[in-house]
C-alpha cells in the first residue's frame, strides 16, 4: 500500500506517463492517414507505404504503446510503493 505523502509525486509521474504515451499516439493517428496518398508511391514488404502505415503501422504502434505503457507504469508503481504485492 502506498504511503500518503507519496500520493502526490505518484500522481504527477502517472500524469506525465499518460501524456507521453497519449500525445504522440494521437499525432500519429492523425498524420498517417492524411499523408497516406502521398506515401503510397513508396513500397515496404510489397505494401504501398501509405496503406501499410495506416493499417499495420497504427495497429503495431498501438500494441507497442500499450506494452510500453503497462511496463513503465508498473515500474512507476513499484518505485512509489503503489504495487499490489501485499
Amino acid at each position: 500500500m502506498i504511503e500518503r505523502k507519496e500520493r502526490k509525486p505518484y500522481w504527477r509521474h502517472t500524469k506525465w506517463q499518460m501524456l507521453t504515451s497519449l500525445v504522440p499516439f494521437l499525432v500519429i493517428m492523425v498524420v498517417f492517414p492524411i499523408y497516406a496518398g502521398r506515401l503510397n508511391g513508396f513500397k515496404f514488404l510489397g505494401f504501398p507505404l501509405g496503406y501499410f502505415l495506416a493499417c499495420h503501422g497504427l495497429v503495431l504502434i498501438a500494441i507497442i504503446t500499450v506494452c510500453v505503457f503497462v511496463n513503465r507504469q508498473d515500474a512507476l508503481d513499484h518505485w512509489h510503493g503503489a504495487n499490489e504485492d501485499a
Binding site: 500520493r7 497519449l22 492517414p33 513500397k43 505494401f47 501499410f52 500494441i63 500499450v66 506494452c67
Partner: protein, 610 residues
C-alpha cells in the same frame, strides 16, 4: 518481471481445460472434413457443428453456476488477464465487425480501415485513461461507479437510462448477426433463429452471470479467433507460401495495385466530410484498393477513427469486463492482450480483403459472362454475389458482392471444401453470441442493481439480489429478441450508433477520474448533453437533414458532453472533502476496492442504527 501472489487462486488447470477445448474444436473440424469427403450430406454436418458448439458454450455457462453476488457480478475478481483480453478483443469487433468490416475493406479498400483500426486504437485510450482506475474502483456497473463517485442517486438513475441505450443497440445488432448465421447454418425461419440466439445467450448467462460470461465468452472467442485465422492462413499458404497472411499479403497487394491500374478501375475523390461506405445490399467494388479517400473524405476518415476510438473506450460492457481481473496491473495487462488479439484480427481482415480482391481482379475479370468460373458460379447460386453488367466479358466492377458474406466468400471462390465455409459462419456466430452476452449481462446488472436494487446504495440480501439479477437477464434477453425480430436496420448501423452513444459517455467517465472537482451536477449535464446531441445527430442524419454520417456523430456528441461537464462543474460548488479523498484513492492501485469499502461502510452504518 515482478512476481505476484494472488490473494484468490484461480483454477491452475484452466489452461489445460481451454487447451482441451481448442483441440476438440480442431478435431471436430477435421472429423467433419473427413465425413464431407466420405459423402455425408452437408446440411447434417452443419447442424452437428452448430448445435455441438452451442451446447458446449451453454454447458460452460451452466457449470459456472454461483450463489455469491461477488462471483455473479464481478466474476470473483480473479480472472487471469489473458482470458479477459480474449473476451475484450472479440467483443470489441463482435460478429458484426467480423463480417461487415471485412466486407467494407474488400469493397471500399483503404477507406474501410478507419472503422476497425479506430476500434483497436480505442484500447490505447482505455488503458491510459479509464480501465485501470475502474478496476481499482471495482464497481460491477458504470452507473454504480458514477453514483458512488458523485454520491448522488440521481446520477445513478440518469446514467442507467443513458447507458442502457448503447447496450441495447449492440445486443440487437449482434442478435441480428447471430440470426443470419443460424438461418444459414440450420435453415430455420428468421423469428425462430432470433429466439434461439437469445435463448442460448440467456441460458449461458443465467447460472453464473459475469462468471458464466467470462468463461463461455473465452471459449466463444477462441472459436471465433480460430475460424478467422485458420482459413486465412490456409489461403495464405496457397498464395504466398507463408502461413502469416497478416504480414505476407504485401506482394499480392503490389500486383493487385498494378492490375487495377491496367484494368482502369475508376478512382473516386470524396469531399472532405463525405462518408459513404458500402451498405448491406450487394454492391460492386468502389475505387482502387490502396488509394485513399475515394468514398470517405480525409477529415471524415480521421474523425471517424477518433469517434470509434472514444466509442470503444467508453463502451460500458467492455469497461465492466476488465474489472474482473485480479489487480490493477492485471487489468492493464488484459487490455494489452486485447489490443494484440484484436490487432491481429484486423490485419487478418485486411489480408482476407486483399486475397478476395486479387481473386476477383486476376481470375474473374476477363472471363466470359456466358461461362462463369466455378467459384463465382457457386457464389451466385448461394446468393452472395450477383452479376450486374450485361457486357460479354466480366469486368472487376461487373460483379456485386454482399458485404456481410465476403468473409465466407473467399473459400467458396477458391473451391475449398464447404466445411471451411461452415466453420467461418460458426465462428461469426460465436463472436456475435459473445458480444451479445457481454452487453446483455451488463444491461441486466444495471437494471437489477441500479434501477431495481437502487436508488439506495444498500443491496438486498444475496438470495433476493441474485434472483432479481437472473430475472433481469431473462427480461433483457426477451426485449432484445423482440427488438431484433422487429428491426430491419443494417446491424453495422446499429453497432455504429451504439458506439456513438458510448463515445458520448467517455468524457464524463474520464473527467470523473482525472478531474477531482467534477461535480454531480456537471456529470448530469454531461450525460444529458452527450445523449441529447448524439440522438439528435443520429436521427437527423438518418432522416437526411444533417450532413454527418453515424460514425462522425461522436465528433459532436463527445465534445458536447465534455463542454457541458466542464461548464456546469465550474458553476457548481466544490465537492465535499471526502469525495476529493475518494478520487485520490481511485488513482492509486492497491488496497481495498472502493466499491467494497463503500458497501462495508454502509452495512456498518445500518447495523449501528438498528
Amino acid at each position: 518481471m515482478p512476481t505476484r501472489a494472488r490473494s484468490q487462486r484461480v483454477n491452475p488447470l484452466l489452461g489445460v481445460y481451454f487447451g482441451i477445448f481448442a483441440a476438440s474444436l480442431a478435431g471436430l473440424v477435421i472429423l467433419l472434413m473427413i465425413f464431407e469427403q466420405l459423402g455425408v450430406v452437408d446440411s447434417r454436418l452443419r447442424s452437428v457443428m452448430t448445435l455441438g458448439s452451442l451446447a458446449l458454450y451453454a454447458a460452460i455457462g451452466v457449470t459456472a453456476y454461483t450463489k455469491l453476488p461477488h462471483d455473479f457480478l464481478l466474476s470473483g475478481r480473479r480472472v487471469p488477464s489473458f482470458y479477459v483480453g480474449l473476451g475484450l478483443a472479440v467483443s470489441a469487433l463482435g460478429g458484426t465487425g467480423l463480417v461487415a468490416f471485412t466486407g467494407i475493406l474488400f469493397l471500399a479498400g483503404f477507406d474501410g480501415l478507419c472503422l476497425p483500426v479506430g476500434l483497436v486504437t480505442g484500447f490505447v485510450i482505455s488503458v491510459l485513461l479509464i480501465a485501470p482506475f475502474l478496476r481499482k474502483f471495482g464497481a460491477p456497473s458504470l452507473p454504480t461507479f458514477l453514483c458512488l463517485r458523485f454520491e448522488s442517486n440521481l446520477v445513478r438513475l440518469v446514467a442507467a437510462s443513458v447507458v442502457v441505450v448503447p447496450l441495447l443497440l449492440l445486443v440487437v445488432a449482434e442478435l441480428r448477426i447471430a440470426q443470419m448465421s443460424i438461418v444459414w447454418l440450420l435453415g430455420l425461419s428468421d423469428g425462430l433463429a432470433v429466439l434461439m440466439a437469445a435463448t442460448i445467450v440467456a441460458v449461458t448467462l443465467a447460472a453464473g452471470g459475469t462468471r458464466s460470461l467470462t468463461w463461455s465468452s473465452a471459449a466463444q472467442a477462441l472459436t471465433a479467433l480460430t475460424t478467422v485465422l485458420l482459413p486465412a492462413a490456409i489461403v495464405a499458404v496457397l498464395m504466398t507460401n507463408l502461413p502469416i497472411p497478416q504480414l505476407s499479403h504485401g506482394p499480392i497487394l503490389k500486383s493487385l495495385v498494378r492490375l487495377e491500374e491496367v484494368q482502369a478501375i475508376p478512382v473516386g475523390f470524396a469531399d472532405r466530410l463525405a462518408f459513404d461506405l458500402p451498405g448491406q445490399q450487394a454492391q460492386a467494388i468502389v475505387g482502387r484498393y490502396a488509394t485513399p479517400f475515394a468514398t470517405v473524405g480525409p477529415l471524415a476518415y480521421v474523425l471517424a477513427m477518433l469517434g470509434m476510438m472514444l466509442g470503444l473506450a467508453g463502451s460500458p460492457s467492455l469497461l465492466a469486463r476488465s474489472s474482473a481481473t485480479s489487480s490493477v496491473y492485471e487489468a492493464r495487462k488484459s487490455i494489452g492482450w486485447a489490443v494484440f488479439l484484436s490487432g491481429v484480427v484486423v490485419l487478418t481482415m485486411s489480408a482476407q480483403a486483399v486475397f478476395t480482391r486479387d481473386v476477383l481482379v486476376s481470375q474473374i475479370a476477363g472471363s466470359p459472362t456466358s461461362s462463369l468460373p466455378s467459384g463465382l458460379r457457386a457464389l451466385v447460386d448461394m446468393g452472395w454475389a450477383e452479376i450486374v453488367s450485361r457486357a460479354p466479358t466480366l469486368s472487376a466492377t461487373g460483379v456485386a458482392f454482399k458485404r456481410d458474406a465476403v468473409l465466407q466468400s473467399l473459400p467458396v471462390l477458391l473451391g475449398f471444401p464447404s466445411s471451411l465455409v461452415n466453420l467461418i459462419v460458426v465462428g461469426v456466430l460465436a463472436a456475435a453470441l459473445a458480444t451479445a452476452a457481454g452487453s446483455l449481462n451488463q444491461m441486466a446488472t444495471i437494471l437489477g442493481e441500479d434501477v431495481l436494487g437502487g436508488p439506495v446504495a444498500e443491496p438486498h440480501e444475496p438470495g433476493r439480489r441474485l434472483l432479481v439479477d437472473r430475472g433481469m437477464i431473462a427480461v433483457v434477453a426477451a426485449v432484445g429478441a423482440l427488438v431484433a425480430a422487429i428491426s430491419s436496420r443494417d446491424p453495422l448501423d446499429l453497432m455504429l450508433w451504439s458506439l456513438a452513444y458510448s463515445a458520448a459517455l467517455f468524457p464524463v467517465i474520464m473527467l470523473a477520474i482525472w478531474w477531482k472537482r467534477t461535480s454531480a451536477l456537471g456529470a448530469l449535464a454531461g450525460l444529458a448533453a452527450g445523449c441529447a446531441v448524439t440522438t439528435l445527430g443520429l436521427l437527423l442524419g438518418a432522416a437526411g437533414l444533417f450532413p454527418l454520417a453515424a460514425p462522425l456523430v461522436p465528433a459532436i456528441g463527445a465534445p458536447a458532453a465534455l463542454v457541458a461537464t466542464l461548464v456546469v462543474t465550474r458553476l457548481s460548488p466544490n465537492p465535499k472533502r471526502h469525495i476529493l479523498e475518494m478520487v485520490r484513492d481511485i488513482r492509486v492501485p492497491g488496497g481495498e476496492p472502493i466499491y467494497d469499502r463503500e458497501l462495508r461502510l454502509a452495512r456498518q452504518q445500518r447495523q449501528r442504527r438498528t
